[in-house]
Symmetry: C2
């Protein structure tokens, strides 16, 4: 009903109306608002069209390139969004969509988000956030304690201390990792003598002053791509992200890591930071953090742990030992919109040492003045919304026990799915789940037999063919819209490290059942028999038959 | 009603409940949800306590540092948030809170946000965002056209072209500025011969290869603090943000700028970028963008315009000429949560040349594969929410005419307020509004007279005293809770560039009336007469009387 329709003077009034008069209770938008409150799952089910439309086709609805001259009614825009946007969006909450790291949300997150948006606070300074600032500091404190387990006196001293920050709230894990490495980089080249520090004088002079030829960040080859982006942004260059080989469980090889650090040292390249991964994005494995911490100490490097995915495993009494050594990290990334079940996009980084963030401290006259409690003085971002309120609510309403349950059932479900795949003759488990992520592919029994004894050339032929099959199944299943697994590329040891395309599955949605998982395998099996991939399957079967004949 | 209460097996069921069963319609949270829909202004008015509580006191409610072990009911947490968080938050939508850049929001933004959060898309890749990706590309296209005014064939060619991006969506202006300067930095040191480019090899080798001693970003002294933060993050060092003097209207001095660039060139320092400001944060002035563009071209530097605040002035036929020359920029920052009236936090940067963003392109196997339409391949952030939907809705529902009205009335109101201050004997306008921002202070007539003829020493004494008065009034007014202006520090020419603390006012809330502005002055006048500042006022009056006696 509200909207701005031009007619000389009336337009001013119309504009005020959208700022002053709520949507009428019977308007399209109000009805949707109520629908979502009453039955979110139903709303998503009813409005998202399952079968995928080609993106090029969808683009036609978004081809206008000028800001329209004349206002339209809210109802008109709402209908447009329902028909063209919502209908063609992704049902990320669906329990059969297990290909990405976005899950269903607890119902209470939605009305709480509304309160947050209604308040529209800006966390850059206390003047525009007041109680939200102590709340954010508390959330950082709680995650800090979960990770580093300091005692009460520590938090009483530092949590609300205006000159320190136990961490930084960010829009997501990428900015969290970048923040940690920014701190690490500046900390590695501090002010000394007549050198005023990298923060002030820059990387070029820092390396010259300290007599280095370069600087590096070391991580396993399974590290997240945000780390290489961070190396670029920080001026180190993508080459400065030095990757180390992993063992057969996708964990960094400690000997190779130490060797690499020694090598860098010899080349006069300063090792700024080692990054441990606690939950690799592709396979969900955890690096040997304890051993990495020792090596970091040996080389005087910052030890960062990217626990964007796996961090909340610390809530689980049964599985928290998988992350042993994380408490020795200098900084740890957590993503809240992943396994803290908060809406997109919020993440955070916590620093073991409360003074560490001072390496990136900054001030301005109109905001974040020195000595204020403003959290903006050590965050990469400026204006930020009050998402901490949603993390706070999750931590209080679900509590440790609730998150433990989510973690434990997720890992349990991944093991169940792995067992199903192991049992199935025509599927091959590629990586066994350590947390709640696994990879596998469709691979008929005779092809697997052939692969087992295949030489490098035959293995390459078979895997090349299997890659096409995997790609076809993944893409077609996504397009059909009943279920979604993602795909990635791994280089398994047993296949001469040939790049194999695999299905990747993330089991974080508590509503995903064993039946759903079984249905996903069944659909994939059916898709493998479809015409669209018949030629490739014939090639595969020929390769397998040939191998059998030779044997 | 929903919540997780432990009792052996029951806990699993309870956990499922928060993911499957909506809040009961009569629950605390549902009632708030409906309240906000029906009457947002009333909700904020009723629940935010006007009188400010000391932050140290508020902190007591957020002093727990452990994640609680046992779940609590949603209703309990909701009540806590209402009493302890909402009550002590800032009424950013209040028409009398004119000290920050956050305004009231159009009503439709709230239910639309709910749809956005319910869908929980992730814009990093099309697999988790589908139609949201073309929508985001359209929003970038629309702002691109608003700024650069290319023709239809340009947008048909580039807007949805998977290998290019007309800009990048960000969490706010800080990340937008950082992204632009990241692009500029990498672009300044491209691959050549056996050098593989700064992106790959880093700043140290880039400067060596190209034979420079350093690299700089040049901006007026009124540039936003995010630019110095960007210089730090990008490895250039804060010193690399070279500031140039401004004229009496807070605009960069073109001669001084050119001089500075020549000087840098002589020192073998590469000028990476010039930053024009279109709406300085403190005073709302716009740099002479056209002349800056010419100098940028002369020195082969990237020309970035930080239009985080002033960008939407382009919607106004009357005022868009203030930004003349912006169309010659290489990149332009826009903040959506400022004058596009979208909730916190979203901003964007647009690039004139669609291939510019390739300087920061990155790919990964599991997301943002090469050739995909995924917008994540050129954004600084990874996972991102679908905020573009809210910008899209603003642009459609308010349209150019609606935003024009908002801009025109804001600037008109700033002029009205300036006239009020001019007329008042006991207030001094410090900076006249060019856009909708102005600064002023309380300054009794006889003190102003004394200042007019004061030598440097007397001016310093008077201004030091006035600074205390300004600080007292601003702080006390904020604490009383009826109105809020912010304060900053400027160095006016006419007072020998002595740092003067001033009130800063931003007139973007369409609900702010002339009466409210007049009340704000009246309250400030009253506060100046309070006991708390009486001693300082006596000093001031003595200084003024002494000056009069000597004259």
């Amino acid at each position: 009903m509200t909207g701005i329709k031009k007619s000389a003077q009336a337009s001013v009034e119309a504009m005020y109306r959208v700022f002053t008069i709520p949507e009428a209770p019977d308007s399209t938008l109000s009805r949707i608002d109520q629908d979502i409150s009453r039955n979110l799952a139903g709303f998503l089910q009813d409005h998202i069209v399952a079968v995928e439309r080609d993106l090029a086709d969808v683009e036609k609805n978004f081809s206008e390139y000028s800001v329209p001259e004349k206002p339209i009614f809210v109802s008109e825009q709402t209908q447009f969004l329902l028909d063209k946007l919502v209908a063609n969006s992704v049902h990320t909450a669906s329990p059969a969509f297990i290909g990405h790291m976005t899950s269903a949300l607890p119902y209470f997150m939605l009305p709480l988000s509304k309160i947050m948006i209604a308040l529209n606070q800006n966390l850059v300074k206390t003047e525009t956030s007041k109680a939200f600032t102590p709340l954010e500091r508390q959330v950082l404190g709680m995650i800090h304690r979960l990770v580093f387990e300091q005692d009460g006196s520590f938090y009483r001293k530092w949590m609300h201390n205006p000159r320190y920050a136990l961490g930084a709230m960010c829009s997501g894990g990428t900015v969290a990792n970048l923040t940690a490495l920014w701190v690490a980089r500046n900390h590695a080249f501090p002010a000394e003598g007549n050198f005023r520090g990298l923060q002030q004088e820059g990387l070029f002079r820092a390396l010259k002053y300290y007599g280095y030829e370069g600087a590096a960040i070391v991580v396993s080859r399974r590290g997240h791509y945000s780390l290489s982006k961070a190396a670029d942004i920080l001026g180190l260059g993508r080459d400065a992200l030095v990757t180390v080989a992993t063992d057969s469980n996708n964990r960094i090889q400690i000997d190779a890591l130490r060797e690499k650090c020694l090598q860098l040292q010899k080349q006069k390249i300063k090792v700024i930071a080692l990054c441990g991964v606690a939950g690799t994005t592709e396979t969900g494995n955890v690096d040997p953090l304890e051993a990495m911490a020792d090596i970091a100490r040996e080389f005087g490097a910052h030890f960062h742990v990217d626990a964007a995915w796996g961090g909340p495993t610390l809530f689980s009494r049964r599985y928290r030992s998988l992350l042993k050594g994380i408490e020795k990290a200098d900084s740890v990334t957590f993503d809240a919109h992943k396994q803290l079940y908060v809406p997109m996009g919020v993440g955070l980084v916590v620093f073991r040492d409360p003074s560490l963030a001072s390496a990136v401290e900054h001030h301005a006259q109109y905001v974040i003045r020195k000595g204020s409690r403003d959290l903006g003085s050590t965050t990469l971002e400026g204006s930020r919304p009050g998402m901490a309120m949603l993390i706070h609510s999750g931590l209080k309403i679900l509590a440790r026990e609730g998150y433990e349950l989510l973690i434990d059932t997720g890992i349990g479900k991944a093991r169940t799915f792995a067992a199903m795949i192991d049992e199935a003759e025509d599927f091959e488990l590629i990586t066994r789940p350590e947390l709640n992520i696994l990879t596998y592919r469709y691979c008929p029994a005779q092809v697997r037999q052939a692969l087992e004894s295949a030489d490098e050339m035959l293995a390459e032929k078979i895997n090349t063919s299997l890659n096409r099959v995997t790609k076809f199944i993944q893409k077609t299943q996504r397009e059909r819209g009943k279920a979604f697994v993602s795909r990635t590329r791994l280089e398994p040891d047993n296949y001469y490290n040939f790049p194999c395309i695999v299905f990747r599955v993330v089991l974080a949605n508590p509503l995903t059942t064993a039946d759903i998982l079984s249905d996903i395998l069944a659909e994939q099996r059916l898709l493998a028999g479809e015409n669209g991939i018949a030629d490739e399957m014939a090639i595969l079967n020929n390769l397998a038959a040939g191998a059998r004949a030779r044997a």
